[in-house]
Amino acid sequence: MNIESSYTFKGVSQELLWKTLQDKESLRRSLPGCKSFEEIAPHTYKSELGINIGPVKGVFTGDVRQVDIKEPESYRLLVIGKGKPGEIDAKADMVLEETEAGTTLICRAEVKVTGVLAAAGQRVMSGVAKVILGQFFKDIEKETKEMAKL
């Protein structure tokens, strides 16, 4: 399943957005339902997310790795998540494009799911993913403001 979503951060420079997206604390505060988030190796994180949208319900533990880092334009996220409703294996390309209005963050993900997520959740998965990503983008936007103050 492919999921694509983008968000324009008005008046935010590519550099500032990059910095925010790389900041552990900002990420911890922005990830929806984040219960824990720790860096276990450079660019590798372990996290626990509590998600409750329709059939996608429960605590997911996930390993997130950043690869192909091209500061400040793009990076690739490799996500392996596990929860009661099933497993998630996602590869997401994150692209930061500076525009006149600010910076647009484009997320293109290829997602594989198993279990209930596949059997019952697939129909609503892309919708759920968009809700989660939208929430994440909005929170990151707030974080950029904090980051700008530093």
Partner: protein, 781 residues
Amino acid sequence: MANVIGASLKRKEDPRLLTGNGRFSDDIQLPGMLHAVILRSPHAHAKIKKIHAEEALKSQGVVAVYTGKDLEGKIGPVPSSWLVPDANLKEAPQYPLAIDYVRYVGDGVALIIAEDRYVARDALDLIEVEYEVLPAVVHQKEAMQEGVPLVHGDIENNIALHWKAGEVADEIINDAEVVVRESFYVQRVFPSPLETRAAIGQYDAGSGELTLWCTSQNPHIHRMVLSDVLGISEAKLRVIAPDMGGGFGGKIGVYPDEALVGYAARDLKRPVKWIEQRSEHFTASNAGRDEIIDVELAGKRDGTLLAIRVKNTANLGAYLSTMGPGVATIDFGLMITGAYDIPHASCETFGVYTNTTPTDAYRGAGKPEATYQIERIIDLYAREIGMDPIELRRKNFVRKEAFPYTNAQGLLYDSGDYEKPLEKALETLNYEELRQKQRELSKQGKLIGIGFSTYVELCGFGPSEVAGAIGFQGGVWENSTVRVHPSGKVTVYCGTSPHGQGHATTFGQVVAEKLGIPMDDIELVFSDTKSISMGWGTYGSRSTAVGGAAVSIAADRVVEKAKKIAAHELEASEEDIVFENGKFQVKGVPGQQRTFQEIAKSANMAWNLPEGMEPSLEAQSFFKPENFVYPFGTHAAVVEIDKDTGEIELKRYVCVDDVGRVINPLTAEGQVHGGIAQGVGQALWEGAVYSKDGQLLSGTLMDYALPKARFFPRIESAFTETPSPVNPLGAKGVGETGTTASIAAVMNAVMDALKPYNVKDIEMPLTSEKVWRAIQDGEGN
């Protein structure tokens, strides 16, 4: 009681079942009973690296956790029971729990046993399995290509079997005036009985006897196979099938799960119960169909059919199920000519392993698929030569005088009169007028379609020699014991085991008629390997034709002995005794008689029996039929399609079935109705959907559409009766006719409605979207 056979008696079973007094698997409660759940693979193909069960074991109430490795060497693989010969059959061992690799979503990985089922279910989430996910293959034609993942590393091209029957020379096809070709996909569907599967094991450490209650359509086959898998004497394994909420083929299979429950009960020396969840059922219970059928039908422009050449590529799933290998080969391939006298026929079948749940027999097992391809292609042929589909059928029907008739694939059709049900159906439909109405409505822009299916199917799985020749690991004869108690009440032990068919009623009627006693005096015993000497199961519409025949013969033997006793007591010769309405009467001497009950007492007391006669009144029969039975008939569907939405409305459904002698028209009609619902379900609504990586996307009843009563018009059902010569009842089979016939009838009706757009096929199920698209892409749009 006279004339009980043929009477529409209400089901003897119903008062008990409808008042909540049935005893289904989940009703069984045993002291100290533990509960099992099975952890199943979320991946279609993966290597099991490690299983962490420590957390689950620490959980309060969890008694044991078994993995495939724990059971290695202690419990054998569960084999297939249909080893089709001359097919280069490659059977990969299916261990009750996966050891190194999981091969489909739903493959068993661990067995958890706990004090209650909630604890067991919660413990499921505490087991962590490290998988190395491997590429999967789902589609059977893809699976046969080079370079695709192998389901079993050592089985080349994933080909489990390659089977051929018959030969059609290329010239016949090449030189024919007309050749119609089409590829049909009879999609994967789920049998979906109301009750899911279940098993309960109880081990008696003193006697060493293991009792296994399980949802089985064939308890004796379960006993035979599982005694081997579990390494327990067949004499110490007792299998009982309690009341069952349907099976439809999905409960023929001997599954790993039942073996696991039996093993755990013996290992822990405590009763263990396992009840399958509905969502679990979608991935863990055998599915049906999933066959890609390429057909070529050749003949003359005048409608004379000459040859049919078929290739079937069947998806067998990750392992060979109990009957899986026989469905797309024997059951399908020998029936491809249907009700028509087509001189040349050939079928080539590939059975293919994929990373999906195994497929097995599902209501009709191969015959709905065979009927589907011939009934669909014959309509396309009629369209090609511009002939009415009814006329083409009539022209090619096997003639009434030709029976017993040997079809091109060598099967001997027992009896038939194919015109008879067709005429009756046309009359009910008012066919000519209906066609006229169709033309008129078409002028108003309405899409009406009329479709037929004039089927014949192979039923009454019977002759043992044939079973042996086709590799079926069973005897498929039947037996019955009729035991008459001193009071004249009767207990009848029956080999075939019911799961919704109403055997107690129909078999009861046979006994009531034969012995001249009330239905209420007859108790029937089924489904317990300890009380019944043998039985080969209820599938392939064989119960009445084979099992019912065994009951009938045993009852005749009782009468035969009773007559001797009556003659002795009445001091008459046996030839002078007439048995009527439950009384043994000396011919021409009114008042000189004995009732059945009086003779029952005499036989059991044995105070004064004829010289040399053994006491008691009891007879057993072992019936091995000489041939299969071949029910036939005509099903017709009338549909209306909404041009703007693609929605199909089933306006009328008319069926005339000839199932030989009908024992009980009421229950027979019930069987036909249910069968039609499942066939129409396949045509219009049902369909398993897998993602490319082997995830089942239609894994809930929200995503998988089962037929509902309100989707149907009142089914107009009738019977004609052409008795079968191969059993004493003259009965054929009725359980599968509806499914076998209806898929093609509905599809042909829809294709007929879409004829203005020159649509020739739409892949089932016919969702509104697919129909709408076909209209949009069709001619004239």
